[in-house]
């Protein structure tokens, strides 16, 4: 699952400088009619967007629609297979799997959103700066980032998660640490190519201040790739969060969470209670898939060489 992160990271790194400037942003806002004209890519984005939003909505309204309190134990006999009363059956604690599936997305969403935000707040500025300032500063940052990047991310995440302790925020931070490098690399490579472009040179020649160049001329052109990385990174964050929970670093059990249900279910696997893991597992996949689809579509739009 960590492959995704790296995969997507590199994928975007390869985006060449032939990126179109104008129109990119508008094209990046999903749901626009223009999307459907963009063929598969467009549909991917729309589809992904729909999947994600629907999950968000479900999670949001779950408190009012769940048939049972998701954390309530013994609402039914333990390990009932799916039936009319418990659509997705019950788990070993006699909790209603269906209710938990409906309301269990919260943690995943919070963690992913938070970690992506952290990544953006850290990765983007240092990426811009490092590549713009260059020199020893750049070298040093690159070295650090590459070291993190070259190291199995999950290990790092686990260590940091163990250090910070429980809670959504801590999880988000530990995940963010792993992914900042991918942002850094993408932005850096982008800026380096854009820096050379004539209109930037022109701006400099015209005596624009460093800050102005960075914010007015360079940043806007980096935005598309940032958006792409961020979208894919959502999926990565979700899957890593699931992984951390699986290792036993999740949030306390009185909050319904797909990750925990999967982990818990893995212990029931041998007794053939497939429904305990199947549904939360599918939900995680759907959520991650939603973001991945969006990321895929967006990166294809941002990357003309693959467009017919």
């Amino acid at each position: 699952m960590l492959t995704l992160i790296r995969g997507s990271g590199c994928e975007v790194v390869e985006v060449d400088k032939s990126k179109v400037r104008k129109g990119m942003l508008s094209s990046l806002i999903p749901g626009l009619s223009s999307l459907s004209q963009r063929g598969l890519a467009g549909w991917l984005v729309v589809l992904g967007f729909i999947m994600v939003t629907s999950i968000v909505v479900v999670t949001a309204i779950s408190p009012w629609v769940v048939p049972y309190n998701p954390s309530q134990i013994n609402v039914g006999r333990p390990l009932l297979s799916p039936n009319s009363q418990f659509l997705f059956g019950t788990n070993n604690m006699g909790q209603d799997v269906f209710s938990r599936v409906l309301s269990g997305g919260g943690i995943m969403l919070e963690v992913s959103i938070l970690s992506v935000m952290i990544c953006l707040l850290i990765g983007v500025p240092i990426g811009l700066l490092s590549s713009y300032v260059g020199g020893i500063f750049d070298r040093f940052l690159c070295l650090i980032m590459d070291s993190i990047y070259a190291f199995p991310g999950l290990v790092l995440a686990i260590a940091i998660a163990a250090m910070l302790g429980r809670g959504v925020t801590n999880m988000a931070i530990s995940i963010a640490v792993v992914y900042v490098p991918s942002y850094f690399r993408v932005i850096r490579s982008q800026v380096l190519s854009i820096k050379e472009m004539p209109y930037v040179e022109a701006a400099k020649a015209a005596g624009a201040k460093g800050r102005t160049v960075l914010s007015r001329y360079i940043f806007p052109n980096v935005v598309p790739s940032i958006v792409v990385v961020a979208t894919v990174n959502f999926a990565d964050a979700i899957l890593t969060a699931a992984g951390l929970t699986f290792i036993g670093l999740g949030v306390p059990v009185d909050i319904p969470d797909w990750g925990w249900d999967l982990t818990n279910g893995s212990r029931l696997l041998s007794s053939g209670a497939w429904w305990v893991i199947a549904y939360p597992g599918l939900m995680i996949i759907l959520l991650a898939l939603g973001f991945t689809l969006m990321g895929e579509g967006l990166s294809e739009m941002a990357n003309p060489r693959l467009r017919e």
């Binding site: 134990i73 604690m93 006699g94 893995s266 007794s271």
Partner: protein, 541 residues
């Protein structure tokens, strides 16, 4: 086209794999006259030297490789009567309870042929106490606090002079830390550690029913242990060990172990199977589920350092709001016993003291809390901690159940928090957890080992619950010193009643021991000693 080829190849590969299935099972047994394969999720923590080993599984192996002066008979309840002669044939204690004399069995030999005598006993204890390995059992249990010195009075007679009268001394002698080592393999001043590829050099024992023929550790965990009958075992004559070869294989988690026993890849699965697995194995006609009282207990600790639990009333109120039935039924699917005392069921001195608080008795809770201003609108709220490293069986589930049973009182609200075992320990030391779940595996099988480490103000310091009651300390000291069974049990019942009064910690349940085997397996004894006796187990062909 290429797709077709690929498909064809995968099919071929898979079928080839399936073909190998049959003769796999055959060859696994090849070349052993009598062999049993036991699977477990345990692993030796540090080494197989009694001077250091202080973990359940390490002791289990030591028990098969060595012998103590005495041993518990199969099906023991922890009372003096259950202690059988082993290397010692008979023993006596002075009236003041300070001198123990053991007459040793003669003509016993180590696996290397050396004859066993009293000097070896002295050597063993001098060594253990001398090395005083920081995290070894000798330090942990505090031998030097109990034993003054050991003297060889005759070739086959050894005397122990104690510092204090210690009622549980025989139990102490029966515990694996007191097993006799072979001076030839146990240097006086250093611990015998795991040696890659050399099983004999990896343990100092040699008097037990088995010898260690292979011990492989990968990634700092056991991956295989092989035991072979020891030709020099003193009890060979009576046909022990029943099974000549034991292979112990190791699983990362209970799910793995469960799958293995279900596919009959192994003959025995012992520790730790999940409750659900055990439940549906009970209905599995190819498997036999053995059940026995376990010695592990769990309890809820209440931090007395600050509010709310610096108030005895509140502690009692919480004690009254624990629904042990749900814990046992929901978390362990009935595979545990409700525990109303620190002293486990089936051990002498046990009483159901905590029933006095009810199980649960919410009216009592409400009544106790009402005067303190806690009620349905203004609830008593606190944080309940549990560990997530699987150090105890299904802690998260327990926490969940505890929460719901406490909140069912209507006047308590609980938020859960968790930490992995290491951080949990730190929190415990920092005393920043209001309430936390803990458990206990005994060292020696005696009520003392369930009371002194918790309720004695010095002995219990490690829990950091800040419980301190001089009256309690007195009682414990008396119970320790007294050697007459009924005097002790009366003392223990007083202790337990006092505990209910103070309610420093609330016993919740006592785990049962389970082993799952194939149908042909016989000779499994799961008793309070919680030890797996490899040498009694055999397959009935």
């Amino acid at each position: 086209m290429r797709c077709l080829i690929v498909v064809a190849m995968t099919v071929l590969f898979i079928s080839a794999c399936m073909l190998t299935l049959q003769f796999e099972c055959k060859s696994a047994r090849a070349g052993f006259d009598s062999l049993l394969v036991l699977g477990t999720t345990d692993s030796v923590e540090t080494c197989l030297d009694p001077a250091r080993a202080y973990d359940y599984f390490g002791w289990e192996i030591i028990q098969s490789l060595g012998c103590g002066l005495v041993e518990y008979k199969a099906g023991a309840t922890g009372s003096i009567a259950d202690i059988d002669p082993s290397l010692a044939t008979s023993w006596s204690v002075s009236d003041d309870g300070l001198v123990w004399t053991f007459n040793l069995r003669q003509g016993v030999h180590y696996d290397d042929g050396t004859e066993f005598n009293a000097t070896h006993v002295k050597y063993t204890f001098d060594r253990g106490i001398g090395i005083a390995d920081a995290d070894g059992a000798f330090v942990g249990i505090g031998y030097d606090g109990i034993i003054n010195n050991v003297t060889v009075s005759e070739k086959y007679v050894v005397k122990f002079y104690l510092k204090i009268p210690f009622a549980a001394f025989l139990s102490l002698m029966a515990c694996q830390a007191s097993y006799i080592v072979d001076p030839a393999h146990a240097p006086m001043t250093s611990v015998v550690e795991y040696t890659v590829g050399d099983a004999r050099a990896s343990h100092p024992m040699g008097l037990g029913p088995y010898t260690l023929t292979n011990w492989t550790r990968t990634a700092g965990r056991d991956s295989e242990i092989r035991l072979q009958a020891n030709p020099n075992y003193w009890n060979n004559a009576s046909g022990y060990p029943k099974t000549k070869n034991m292979i112990i294989t190791f699983y990362a988690n209970s799910a793995g172990l469960a799958l293995a026993i279900k596919n009959q890849e192994i003959d025995i699965a012992f520790r730790q199977l999940g409750a659900t697995d055990i439940n549906d194995m009970k209905t599995n006609t190819n498997l036999k589920v053995w059940e026995g009282t376990g010695a592990v207990i769990q309890y809820l600790v209440l931090q007395e350092k600050y509010a709310p639990f610096n108030n005895t009333i509140i502690r009692r109120a919480v004690g009254a709001a624990i629904n042990r039935t749900t814990i046992v039924d929901t978390v362990f699917l009935g595979q545990a016993q409700k525990l109303y005392s620190m002293i486990p069921i089936g051990m002498f001195g046990h009483t159901d003291a905590f029933l006095a608080l009810g199980d649960p008795n919410y009216t009592k809770t409400t009544e106790l809390l009402a005067p303190l201003g806690y009620n349905a609108t203004h609830k008593l709220s606190f944080k309940l901690w549990y560990e997530t490293s699987g150090h105890y069986l299904s802690s998260p589930e327990q926490a969940l159940v505890l929460k719901s049973s406490l909140e069912a009182s209507g006047v308590i609200s609980v938020t859960l928090d968790s930490a992995d075992w290491a951080s949990y320990g730190t929190h415990r030391r920092n005393e920043d957890m209001e309430a936390y779940v803990m458990g206990w595996y005994p060292d020696y099988i005696d009520p003392d080992d369930y009371i002194q480490p918790f309720l004695d103000s010095s002995g219990g310091s490690w829990i950091h619950h800040n419980y301190n009651n001089s009256q309690m300390d007195k009682l414990i000291a008396w119970a320790r010193g007294n050697t007459t069974a009924d005097a002790r049990s009366s003392l223990y019942s007083q202790i337990q009643n006092l505990m209910v009064q103070d309610c420093p910690m609330i016993p919740t349940f006592q785990g049962s021991a389970y082993a799952v085997t194939t149908l042909k397996i016989k000779g499994v004894y799961l008793d309070i000693t919680q030890s797996w006796r490899h040498w009694l187990v055999y397959a009935e062909e």
